[in-house]
């Protein structure tokens, strides 16, 4: 991969199409991971990644390098794409193919593996219920394995604000999981009570 900095590639890409391809190669995996964790399925991730890069290219002539990482520009576009996707999806109920595959796989898995997979799914579903900026923070931290300083640069915040957001995110996520867990317990206990009657 090219050793040139983002700024050098951006300047060159205005005249040389090959430089845009290098920017694409540099960031496609991160953008894919981000969109995958936000949507939860590979099919939509591929579609939205394509749209993200096409939009970035379309508006590239007007892009001004102000020192922020190029990935911040791409994440902003990806964020808008995912927001539109969620809006469209809320209008029509769709079951992603990956979820269908997962549930069919679950039937074939041994109980322990299925349980572990189930817990993971519950956790990821809870992550997807978080506000977009908190989901983004978790993706940058655990998937992209970025430092707080890098996340701060990409999200346009201070390092202290990122640390604080991370803390609040963990608290909110735990609260959500506890509430859902309690909800299940309550359902179970009401079932038990009905059975006792």
């Amino acid at each position: 991969m090219s050793e040139e900095s983002d700024s050098e590639l951006i300047a060159r890409a205005k005249e040389d199409p090959a430089a845009f391809s290098l920017l694409y190669e540099r960031y496609v995996k991160n953008i894919y991971s981000y969109i995958y964790y936000r949507t939860g399925n590979h099919h939509d991730a591929e579609d939205l990644v394509s749209r993200t890069f096409y939009r970035a290219l379309k508006h590239f002539a007007r892009y001004e390098d102000r020192g922020a990482p190029f990935s911040a520009y791409l994440y902003r576009i990806a964020h808008n794409m995912v927001a539109n996707w969620h809006r469209d999806r809320s209008r029509r109920q769709v079951i992603p193919l990956d979820e269908m595959l997962l549930s069919s796989l679950k039937r074939e898995q041994p109980a322990a593996v299925a349980e572990e997979k189930g817990e993971q799914e519950i956790l990821l579903a809870a992550v997807r219920r978080l506000p977009p900026d908190r989901q983004r923070l978790l993706i940058h931290k655990f998937v992209d394995q970025m430092s707080n300083a890098e996340i701060a640069r990409i999200m346009g915040r201070t390092e202290g604000a990122i640390k604080s957001l991370y803390h609040r995110t963990l608290v909110a996520l735990r609260q959500d999981l506890l509430e859902k867990g309690r909800g299940i317990d309550q359902e179970e206990s009401s079932d038990e009570q009905e059975a006792l009657r």
Binding site: P17, F60, Q120, V127, Q145, S147, N148, L170
Partner: protein, 122 residues
């Protein structure tokens, strides 16, 4: 516990988790702090386990890269053509304006000369 202190401990825990997964116990926190933050440490560890990097399919990356390269080439060529068009247009307009002013000046001088010769003839 002070909120900033909790922020720092959780941030340090996450960084340790990412760089040295086995070294989580080394963070210097007091027992009371550890007890308070233990559920959040556990949640962070669960997140770390559940969110591995996802690789896009190689065929997808390759084909999208190829399509984008074609579009980028087309876009740069279009921009170049447009810039050249604007330049030629501006040069044409400039030339036309110059010719028109020259013709205007000649017409003006001729009409002045004619008017003067008419005045002399009278």
């Amino acid at each position: 516990m002070n909120k900033r202190r909790s922020d720092d401990i959780l941030a340090a825990h996450a960084e340790r988790l990412l760089s040295q997964p086995g070294a989580m116990q080394q963070i210097a926190v007091e027992d009371e702090e550890r007890n308070e933050l233990d559920p959040l440490f556990a949640l962070a560890e669960q997140l770390y386990q559940s969110m591995p990097p996802v690789q896009p399919p190689a065929a997808f990356v390759h084909s999208l890269g190829k399509e984008l390269a074609g579009s980028a080439k087309h876009q740069v060529a279009t921009a170049r053509r447009m810039r050249r068009g604007v330049l030629i247009g501006a040069a044409t307009v400039g030339s036309l304006v110059s010719i028109a002013s020259l013709v205007g000046a000649i017409v003006y001088i001729v009409s002045r000369l004619r008017a003067r010769s008419h005045a002399h003839a009278r």
